[in-house]
């Protein structure tokens, strides 16, 4: 008995020609790939937009308008990411045999081939990473050691970069394939019962569309009943879902304490207000969405006191930046900063009621911040302090 040689093993590894489905082919790959590229492009742009809400670059001034903007961009981020999953799987299926192409023998060709494969490995790895970490973030499961937000952002740059490299390499092939009819009659005659490229393409689009319809109800109201797989069914106290409960934030007792006061601080001046004081002030009522980074959103009718009126009590200018602090003792985002541009808008308020009822404790009783076009995590709940920054 002799040990198998490298040649013996190599003979056992399949070659691209061994894969028999004629539904594979560049005509299919280019079409699915184009749709996938569009999804990734939307995901990248909306994702970076969301990132700017968290750490705003100096050249950008956050605006309260359009009211629904973040709801749309982040809803699209999650929708296009979800749509990408079936497309990615079909695309990889269509090129799987190419994994078994034997490397060229030495020299420049080997280096070029190696570089191209490295770019594809980066693209595949980062694509899986983004889709997996994104969908797990939506359900709130973090089985890893890295920071979700920072890593998701950094890997997104790698993904979009390797995607551009991939398009640069494949551009002639893509253009040729998109110009050709998707199926050849020859293939059909050889095996009339086999799935065609057209049927696989149709299947990919059906799956992608269903993935969206079955999950998007968490942000598209008329899909709520249809979206059997959405993470947020859309219900909750006062008809609004909750991200962090009072118990989870450590405010279950402090929020109900009769000694609660809202402190409004401007420099060394502090005004202290009870909830009744707030209710006695002129109230404003607006329909505004809560729109979260996880891609769920829902509009509700809020009423309360505009933040600019509150800081005016302590003598501050309505254009001031305001830091909003919470009673929250557990978890991140216990405070947030509202820029003057948003403070000036009278829809930016400390809400006291939600959909006509006294604010539920899980929605931030005694009062919470609500402002137009603002990510949900910055709509600070259980507020006990407004501090005006010069």
């Amino acid at each position: 008995m002799r040990l198998p040689t490298v040649e013996d093993i190599e003979k056992r590894i399949p070659r691209p020609d061994d894969f028999e489905s004629r539904a594979r082919g560049t005509q299919l790959t280019a079409r699915v790939g184009t749709a996938l590229g569009l999804c990734f492009g939307i995901c990248f742009l909306t994702g970076m937009w969301s990132h700017f809400q968290y750490s705003t670059p100096g050249w950008l001034t956050l605006s309260p308008n359009p009211t629904q903007l973040y709801r749309w961009t982040q809803g699209l981020h999650i929708i296009s990411g979800t749509a990408a999953i079936p497309l990615l799987l079909v695309k990889l299926w269509s090129v799987f045999p190419r994994l078994f192409i034997r490397p060229p023998k030495g020299g420049r060709a080997l280096v070029v081939e190696g570089l191209e494969r490295a770019s594809i490995a980066a693209l595949m790895g980062s694509s899986f990473f983004l889709l997996a970490s994104g969908t797990l973030n939506i359900i709130g499961w973090y089985p890893w050691e890295f920071s979700f937000r920072r890593t998701h952002e950094a890997v997104a740059w790698v993904a979009i970069g390797s995607l551009l490299v991939h398009i640069a390499v494949k551009l002639p092939v893509i253009r040729r394939a998109l110009g050709e009819p998707i199926d050849h009659d020859d293939d059909h005659h050889l095996d009339p019962d086999a799935p065609t490229r057209r049927s696989v393409l149709r299947g990919a689009f059906i799956a992608s569309g269903l993935a969206v319809v079955l999950t998007a109800g968490q942000t598209v109201p008329w899909l709520r009943k249809v979206s059997a797989f959405s993470v947020r069914p859309g219900d909750g106290p006062q008809d609004l879902p909750v991200n962090r409960t009072a118990k989870g934030a450590g405010t279950a007792t402090t929020a109900l304490d009769p000694a609660w006061r809202l402190q409004v601080t401007v420099g060394d001046r502090t005004v202290s207000l009870t909830r009744d004081d707030l209710l006695a002030m002129p109230q404003s009522t607006h329909r505004l969405p809560i729109a979260c980074v996880e891609g769920w959103s829902r509009s509700a009718v809020w009423s309360g006191v505009p933040v600019r009126d509150l800081i005016a009590l302590a003598g501050a200018d309505p254009d001031s930046d305001v830091v909003v602090r919470s009673l929250q003792t557990k978890g991140a985002f216990g405070s947030s900063r509202v820029v003057g541009n948003v403070v000036r808008d009278d829809r930016t308020m400390l809400a006291l009621t939600l959909n006509g009822e006294t604010l539920d404790i899980d929605h931030g009783y005694p009062c919470r911040l609500i402002a137009p076009n603002r990510p949900g995590v910055f709509q600070t709940k259980w507020v006990n302090e407004l501090e005006v920054r010069a």
Binding site: W157, V165, A211, A228
Partner: protein, 141 residues
């Protein structure tokens, strides 16, 4: 076209390097975990998922009657890719204690219904195709 490709290539490399630069202050522990998740998807796909699908396709093309194949392939494609898409909500993980506004739907039940509907679609499509197709296929001399 040459200029377009060069521009895409350079921009792509630049973006990728910027992504790596953003990780410059990650700890070793964070980077190890990140590397595990970056490689994990590729390995899972290339070593398990893709070969399993190839074997299933090979088996189906030989075992299934002709009029079944195309519809079954599409139904399987839709079922398989949607199952992967919904794995997070089907996993039973995540959610927040005392908060039933997250993950508050019977996902496994919906998945079973989806599976049955797609199986029904495959069978229904096959029956329709058999009825529509003349018998000449089997009646060869």
């Amino acid at each position: 076209m040459r200029a377009t490709r060069a521009l895409l290539l350079l921009t792509g490399v630049g973006f990728g390097l910027w992504g790596v630069w953003l990780m410059r202050d990650f700890t070793r522990e964070q980077l190890t975990s990140e590397a595990f998740w970056l490689a994990g998807g590729v390995v899972l796909h290339d070593v398990i998922l893709a070969p399993v699908v190839v074997v299933l396709g090979y088996g189906a093309s030989r075992l299934l009657p002709g009029h079944f194949r195309s519809g079954a392939a599409t139904a399987f494609l839709v079922w398989g890719t949607l199952t992967v898409t919904f794995l997070p909500v089907l996993s039973g993980q995540g959610g927040k204690p005392g908060n039933d506004t997250v993950l508050g739907k019977p996902y496994v039940l919906s998945w079973i219904v989806m599976t049955l509907l797609l199986a029904g679609w495959a069978v229904g499509g096959a029956l329709w195709r058999r009825r529509r197709r003349p018998v000449e296929v089997t009646a060869e001399p």
